[in-house]
């Protein structure tokens, strides 16, 4: 038995998870972990499954056939080994930006995060075009290494964001937790 990652992408509709899970069950695969999300009308799911290597080609073919007819793409590959636990746990921070929608925002902000060796653990971007305002809001939850310089990070974010006309904020995650959760 080996661990594989299955990802599904395409038009959201009822029954996707049922189809995928049934096919996996039929091939004797065990779903270890799963996450799914819906972005506007697109569906995306990642499943970590345990199965024997020999059944993978047959599994992939059946999944492709079934999901193609629903307008979805599927992809299977061996799972990567679990990451080593860092010696000092990183600081969880929340970075938000908001401003007029324009191209390059996500790229630029993500580059700053990368430059400080921080990892984006959650990312949500919401366009407010539906409500009439053209504000584009991004919320990055990031793991910021303890060894990195928080003030320098904050200053660089400030410079990058002001260069593209964005308001920004960066704060430790605990404050959002404290204020919004009991």
């Amino acid at each position: 038995m080996k661990k594989f990652v299955v990802s599904v992408l395409g038009k959201d509709q009822p029954g996707i998870v049922a189809s995928v899970a049934n096919i996996l069950y039929a091939h004797d695969c065990n779903i270890e972990d799963v996450t799914q999300t819906i972005l506007q009308s697109e569906f995306a799911a990642i499943l970590l499954v345990n199965c024997s290597e020999s059944c993978v080609p047959g599994l992939a073919k059946e999944l492709q056939q079934e999901l193609d007819s629903l307008g979805l793409s599927v992809f299977i590959r061996p799972a990567t080994a679990a990451a080593a636990i860092p010696s000092a746990p990183p600081e969880p921070l929340v970075v938000t930006t908001s401003g007029p929608d324009c191209s390059g925002q996500v790229a630029r902000v993500a580059a700053v995060i990368r430059d400080f060796n921080a990892n984006i653990t959650e990312l949500k971007a919401v366009s407010r075009k539906e409500s009439g305002s053209s504000e584009f809001i991004m919320i990055f939850e990031i793991a910021f290494p303890l060894s990195a310089d928080f003030i320098a990070f904050r200053n660089r974010l400030r410079d990058v964001c002001s260069g593209i006309g964005l308001r920004y904020s960066v704060q430790h995650r605990d404050i959002f937790e404290a204020i919004n959760r009991v």
Binding site: V94, T96, E122, K124, V126, I137, I139, E141, F150, I151, R154, S169, V170, Q171, H172, D174, I175, F176, A178, I179, N180
Partner: protein, 457 residues
């Protein structure tokens, strides 16, 4: 993963609604510094303060950055000087005040409270020396705050002390006449003073407190007002009970921020975490007003009929929300109504909607008292004492804290402007009805006995 609403509302509170930690106050006990040698005492207290508080400002600023919630003021509260400095004369007390001022400047904090005493059952030698030193001490120093407790529910009211404080306030005003009586803005007279208030001018570290402790004062009248406005924008017909719920939930959030940051600062400094004081404390900045909350709820101005009822509701809702949010709540914990420190309240007083008598009524239901009230400079000392006595009686009978911070502005009359600068703000001088009509009562002196605590009608 936080929802978009949770993240954005938190950020909005900080950026636009003036959510901040109003003060982190380091309480420092001076009881083990006592000496009957003035220089040795001053040396000990100076070094005690600067060694414990050396990193206070930097640590606070660091956490303010990291959590994105500014800690606006860093302050120190010490053991009452009337107690630890009991052997000294008034001249000695003034010298001690200067030493404390020097220490405050050295560690870069903006106020140090505790130049005070507790005299509800009588004035001891040290207490008298301190009280008589107050006018000069508050004139020659910048950062000292003084508080004198003259009444408790258990002991009654010391009317001798009340009479004395009326005179002391006049003297302090006269000595700082060129700054509109600024010394009086740093002097409070209390009934039932709590021992762990982080706010000035009443802060001091009481008996029974540890050697050092961090007490946090949160704030956020702007946050509360905006929350009410948002709720009303959703439904303009909200009942007062529903508004009370909004206030309670907002007070919860504000207090949680204070609790988190206070705990972190205390841990970093290696000091015990004391309490969170969840008072709504306004500043003269736009949008940071308690008075505006009254307008949002539906009064033309604070001070018109309905104000006492609304303040009672507001005070209670804040306490309920805050109490759930914090592991230990203390200090004053309610709503402040300081006239000069709140643009909107000052304006209400200015246009005549808020008068001294209505303020007094409101102090029966809020946590502070007659705070930052500028009155005519020619108000007699006896009338000041009588106003104080009334306020002490409200506190004594209702088993609550009340206080007065009255400023008789030398050379100015009702309707003229008094300006104190910075957080102390400015306002039009309020008229005092019937001055000079209480002299015989005040000259009588003595003690108003403690009230019965059963038969509570």
């Amino acid at each position: 993963m936080f929802t978009e609403r949770e993240v954005l509302s938190t950020i909005e509170m900080v950026k636009n609604e003036h959510l901040d930690v109003r003060t982190v106050t380091l309480g420092i006990s001076l009881f083990d510094c006592v000496s009957d040698d003035l220089h040795r005492f001053e040396d000990k207290i100076y070094h005690r303060i600067i060694s414990l508080a050396a990193n206070l400002v930097d640590v606070c600023d660091g956490f303010g950055e990291k959590y994105g919630i500014p800690i606006v003021n860093k302050r120190i509260a010490i053991s009452p000087i009337g107690v630890v400095g009991a052997p000294f004369s008034s001249e000695g007390m003034v010298s001690i005040a200067k030493t404390l001022d020097r220490a405050a400047k050295e560690v870069n904090i903006d106020f140090i409270g505790g130049f005070g005493c507790l005299v509800q059952k009588g004035m001891a030698r040290g207490d008298i020396a301190l009280i008589e030193a107050i006018p000069e001490a508050l004139t020659v120093t910048e950062r000292i705050c003084a508080s004198v407790n003259v009444a408790t529910t258990r002991a009654g009211i010391n009317m001798d002390a009340v009479a004395k404080m009326g005179r002391i306030i006049k003297e302090a005003a006269a000595m700082t006449a060129d700054s509109d009586g600024l010394a009086c803005a740093k002097l409070c007279v209390f009934a039932n003073i709590p021992e762990d208030v982080p706010f000035m001018a009443g802060a001091y570290l009481g008996v029974g407190e540890p050697s050092s402790v961090i007490n946090v004062g949160v704030s956020g009248p702007g946050v509360v007002k905006k929350a009410i406005d948002r709720a009303l924008a959703g439904n303009a017909e909200l009942s007062i009970g529903q508004i009370s719920e909004v206030i309670k939930q907002t007070a919860y959030k504000v207090t949680r921020a204070g609790q988190l940051i206070g705990q972190k600062v205390a841990d970093r400094l290696g000091v015990q975490f004391g309490i969170v004081d969840l008072s709504l404390a306004p500043t003269p900045n736009v949008g940071d007003s308690v008075g505006e909350i009254f307008q949002s709820i539906g009064l033309r101005n604070i001070g018109v009929p309905g104000s006492t009822a609304i303040l009672a509701m507001l005070n209670d809702a804040v306490k309920k929300g805050g109490a759930f949010a914090s592991s230990r709540v203390g200090g004053l914990s309610g709503a402040f109504i300081p006239v000069t420190e709140d643009l909107n309240i000052a304006e209400a007083a200015s246009c005549g909607d808020l008068c001294l008598e209505k303020l007094e009524a409101m102090t029966a239901v809020c946590s502070v008292g007659l705070d930052m009230v500028a009155i005519p400079g020619d108000t007699p000392a006896e009338t000041l004492s009588a106003i104080i006595a009334d306020e002490m009686a409200i506190g004594m009978i209702n088993k609550k804290t009340t206080a007065t911070r009255l400023i008789p502005v030398p050379g100015k009359k009702a309707g003229e402007f008094a300006r104190f600068g910075g957080l102390l703000g400015e306002a039009k001088i309020m008229p005092v009805r019937s001055p000079g009509a209480s002299d015989v009562f005040i000259h009588r002196g003595g003690f108003i006995p403690a009230p019965l605590q059963s038969l509570i009608n």
